[in-house]
Symmetry: C2
DNA sequence: AAGCGTTTCAAACTTACGTTTTAATTTGAT
DNA sequence: ATCAAATTAAAACGTAAGTTTGAAACGCTT
């Protein structure tokens, strides 16, 4: 009656995803991974080639569908509405993140944390492989936000998008900067819906705030 | 005419701070540190005891003065004004961060990046040593924000503070989440004053936005 | 100048890492 | 059933990590 055990490569990916989030890439050894995945040590190099390639595989398994979901939401929104509201635009990004966070089969909230962690560690992977492959993501959002907020100059818009995506990433990643001091004042990332309830108004307010003279 | 060379312990701290930011704690070896600091390999263990203790020393050298500066600004503001504005409150945190970012003698922007990096890596150091020592920081800000935003419930206020500090930390840390995709669309953290110009309005707007029914 | 605690130095130690190798085992088509 | 390919297994390899050691060099007081 137990669920069928995933194959070796999948078990490695699942365990790696969790351990990379918990301890970071460098601090996670192949021996930790293979032990918890109950596979032989050599299996990682056999199936993926190297530890670096394993990381890329872990990353790409989640990122590609997430980006695709966001762009699909964006497509659907642009065909449905003539004039895009900032809130609906923000939601096209948040909804796929939320769905991902609530779906354990797709890594649950783990991957968003991994993404956040990888961003600040600025891996070579993100600077090289990903940047070329997914520049369309930011281009699409930049254009959409420009249409929704035409009163903003390109520099001000870039900064606001930077801030907005920063806080959204951090929110889903559960990096509670205040928790360190207060000992879990907020039950972080436990209820993703609760995050969105407070996150969307905050981000939208920052994005649409009037420009100062 | 050259500046007098700092002593061994200080050189180790300076180099470590930079390397921990660039490569992370785990990926920075003592041999990298001692080589760039032009000290003997054993000097780290002699002066600090261990690599972990070195990290704590690097961290504490900057954090304590930063926290003290913030609290001093807060004190000065509370004695000067009866009713605190959200903007002035935000500024009590941003101004010390900005001063730190612009002062190479105190680590410049490096330490804020280190702080941000350490937050998402959630080191044992931050969970254990720091949380007890500096809980006063969050308590003071929580109370101040509660006075400035009395219309917000405790839960909503906690979330908004969480979001606000998230984006502020990330802004100073220069973790440009969009840069990865666009290849340095924004010249991040080059001009700290520019950050503040756009950061403060964004954060304030999010904090003061009206609560929804 | 002598003595003594402090600091520096070169070298080695132990351990753990990522990776490779070679053989055993399983799998799937004929 | 057989054979070839794919996968798993155990063991070892070479390297680099943090740490320790013991002697040499330094700095300061007497």
């Amino acid at each position: 009656m137990e669920a069928s055990r995933p194959d070796t490569a999948t078990r490695i990916l699942d365990v790696s995803e969790r351990l990379f989030v918990e301890h970071g890439f460098e601090a996670t050894s192949l021996r930790m991974i293979t032990q918890q995945a109950e596979v032989n040590l050599a299996a990682v190099n056999y199936h993926f080639g190297s530890k670096d390639a394993l990381f890329e595989a872990v990353f790409m398994r989640r990122l590609a569908p997430l980006i695709a979901s966001c762009l699909a939401e964006l497509d659907e929104l642009e065909t449905r509405e003539e004039k895009l509201s900032v809130e609906s635009l923000v939601t096209t990004f948040i909804r796929p993140c939320l769905a991902l966070s609530k779906d354990p089969a797709r890594g649950g909230a783990l991957f968003v944390r991994l993404l956040s962690r990888t961003l600040v560690e600025n891996h070579r992977l993100l600077r090289e492989t990903i940047s070329q492959q997914y520049s369309v993501f930011v281009q699409r959002y930049s254009r959409a936000f420009h249409h929704a907020l035409p009163q903003l100059g390109v520099e001000e818009l870039a900064w606001r998008m930077h801030f907005a995506f920063s806080v959204m990433f951090n929110a889903f990643a559960g990096n509670d900067v205040l928790k360190i001091f207060t000992r879990s004042q907020i039950v972080t990332a436990r209820d993703p819906d609760m995050i969105v309830k407070y996150l969307v108004p905050f981000v939208v307010a920052g994005l649409v705030s009037p420009v100062e003279g």
